[in-house]
């Protein structure tokens, strides 16, 4: 058993190393527009992977994660524009307030079953959005905040890409370790059979709250990074369509797989850029996509690939469902 797991580990690390090298060299190969898009994709990946902690691994249907994403973006923007906090401090501080929101919101919504949880998380995220859009003096309301300045070391397209890649890698690695830990295993077990876990002495509410808070934390980091990449923050980052979008992103890739959300994000951005050229009705396209996935691809693209005969070795490495 030990040698098999060692083999997988070596394969895992080997593949990861190859991917990292590939990603690092990307900015020198691709045209600038794609580098910029990739940077934004990476920020969104942190968001999606964060959501999937509760959605895929926790089995909790959270439709309000955009609240944390948007709050993460706005707190950074406000810190940089309205206070004299230096950039690197702002970067570290920004995700803290949304994470606090996560604890509070989680506290009220965790106790209940799927219905209440989904609705209360959605409702609170709309509250966050409402605050952002109404507090004109602080947030600029609908106009958003633009022109965030970032330090010159990371302000070129390539350097920003590499910086985001570093942050994203750390986040991905951390999330992976969390999922693979006893805590993560407990979470997954709770998803499968909560009652049995309760009988073994697990405090369901506490574990779920911890998972939700961690998830909110990463979602807000995603938002903070997005604000850095785009140099601005707009209210729609916290609005419910964004919450739905990130859920569909995870589902598109496969919520029961680790890298599913990443694949979903890439596909989403790709589709958005194509659709955006033809019509302004992206929501309808997204809606249709939702419907297609629900009926034909409930396990997402990666899930589908896993269940099919091909790519057996990708299965072993990517699967952590």
């Amino acid at each position: 058993m030990a040698s098999v797991s060692k083999m997988i580990k070596v394969e895992k690390w080997g593949l990861s190393a190859v991917i990292v090298v590939l990603l690092v060299t990307l900015p020198f190969i691709l045209p600038e527009y794609w580098v910029y898009t990739s940077t934004d994709i990476m920020a969104y990946c942190i968001f999606a992977l964060g959501l999937n902690i509760v959605l895929g691994y926790g089995g909790m249907i959270a439709f309000g994660h955009a609240g944390f994403y948007g709050a993460g973006a706005y707190v950074l923007a406000l810190l940089l524009k309205k206070t004299n906090v230096p950039f690197w401090a702002a970067l570290l501080l920004a995700p803290l307030l949304p994470t606090l929101f996560g604890v509070i919101i989680g506290f009220f919504s965790i106790r209940r079953r799927a219905f209440y949880f989904a609705v209360i998380t959605l409702a609170f995220s709309e509250l966050i959005w409402a605050i952002i859009i109404k507090w004109y003096t602080m947030t600029g309301g609908e106009n958003g905040i633009t022109g965030i300045s970032i330090p010159s070391i990371i302000s070129t397209t390539n350097s920003l890409y590499l910086f985001t890649l570093a942050v994203t890698s750390v986040c991905v690695f951390t999330i992976y370790r969390i999922i693979d830990s006893p805590f993560g295993r407990t979470l997954r077990a709770m998803r499968e059979n909560a009652q049995r876990m309760e009988f073994t002495g697990v405090n369901l509410d506490k574990q779920r709250l911890i998972a939700f808070t961690i998830s909110a934390f990463f979602a807000s980091i995603g938002g903070t990074m997005h604000a850095i990449v785009t140099r601005c923050a707009f209210p729609d980052l916290a609005d419910w369509p964004k919450s739905g979008e990130v859920v569909i992103t995870c589902m598109l890739g496969g919520i029961h797989t680790f890298f599913g959300p990443v694949v979903g994000v890439a596909l989403l951005f790709f589709m958005n850029s194509i659709v955006g050229r033809f019509t302004q009705y992206w929501p309808s396209v997204l809606g249709l996509l939702f419907i297609l996935i629900v009926f034909f691809l409930p396990n997402g693209v990666v899930g589908y690939i896993q269940e099919s005969k091909l790519a057996g070795w990708i299965k072993r490495i990517g699967r952590l469902g």
Binding site: A123, G244, Y281, F290
Partner: protein, 294 residues
């Protein structure tokens, strides 16, 4: 602030509460029987306003009977749309996990939103109070639009009717049986899928009805769909699922809190609603009239 103005505002809140009750009762029914978290409920509410706008101003030209006809036909369109989505889409997902149903409902919200944008544009639509109810009436020394009283009256009438339907009729029994144990009910020979469709149609009708009734008091604009859905959910949470009385009381409560909030703290009114919800679920986790049916 004068007492008369306060009374007028509170009555505005009560009539709004009446509308909210109509909207939320539909949601409560659909959730109770079909076990579907119907995110598109508010979209149907909004769509009804736009449909009645077109019906009243174009199809039925003059506003004489236009509004009343749209009050009948608008919700019927919405009920039909609800029924179609149930039969074509939702029905196949009852056996699957809740996530799929919610995602489907969310998808329809996106689509309906775009349909509205495509058909009616981005400008908000308004409609004037129907003739016969444009005047004001004196209640306890304050001036109150007659229409408010109509809405309140209709709300009470529907509440009583719904209570009777749910508790005293055969259909109500079938509804409650299907909600409690669908497979057993089916085994007893009841056409449960039909009951589910009927409930979805009824719930959607109520949403549409609420929308048209509310239209003269407010306006139809993009973005109020999810707003309405969330308020309806909050009311169902506050009132407790499975209780007509609970939804009615909760609707009134939210309507009045909203009205008072607008009067004194217009910018943060929405926060009060959330505080109300939080307060209630801390004290009574299943809502005021709810029971633990989990």
């Amino acid at each position: 602030m004068q007492l008369s103005a306060i009374i007028t505002q509170i009555l505005a809140g009560v009539s709004r509460g009446s509308v909210l009750f109509l909207l939320s009762s539909g949601l409560s029914l659909i959730f109770g029987v079909n076990k579907v978290i119907n995110f598109m409920h508010g979209s149907l509410y909004l769509l009804a306003m736009y449909i009645s706008f077109s019906l009243a101003t174009e199809v039925f030209q003059s506003l004489q009977f236009g509004f009343w006809l749209s009050l009948i036909f608008g919700p019927m369109c919405i009920a039909a749309i609800g029924g179609l989505t149930e039969v074509i889409l939702f029905r196949h997902l009852y056996a699957k996990e809740h996530l799929m149903q919610m995602v489907l409902a969310m998808a329809l919200v996106y689509i309906i939103g775009d349909v509205i944008k495509l058909s009616w544009g981005v400008m908000a639509k308004t409609i004037s109070t129907p003739p016969g109810f444009t005047g004001n009436v004196e209640v306890a020394g304050s001036v109150v639009p007659t229409y408010f009283l109509l809405v309140i009256g209709i709300g009470i009438a529907v509440a009583i009717s719904l209570w009777v339907i749910v508790n005293k009729t055969r259909f109500g029994r079938l509804m409650r049986a299907s909600a409690t144990d669908p497979s057993m009910t089916k085994a007893l020979g009841v056409n449960v899928p039909w009951v589910m469709t009927a409930v979805f149609v009824l719930g959607s009708f109520l949403a549409g009805f609420a929308g048209v009734l509310n239209f003269p008091m407010s306006s139809a604009s993009l973005g109020s769909d999810m707003e309405a859905t969330i308020v309806a959910f909050i009311i169902v949470i506050i009132g407790g699922t499975g209780s007509v009385m609970g939804t009615f009381v909760a609707g009134l409560l939210v309507g009045i809190v909203e009205a008072i909030g607008i009067m004194f703290f217009p910018q943060v009114t929405i926060v009060f609603i959330y505080l109300l919800m939080v307060a209630i679920i801390l004290v009574r986790p299943y809502g005021i009239f709810g029971r633990s049916t989990d």
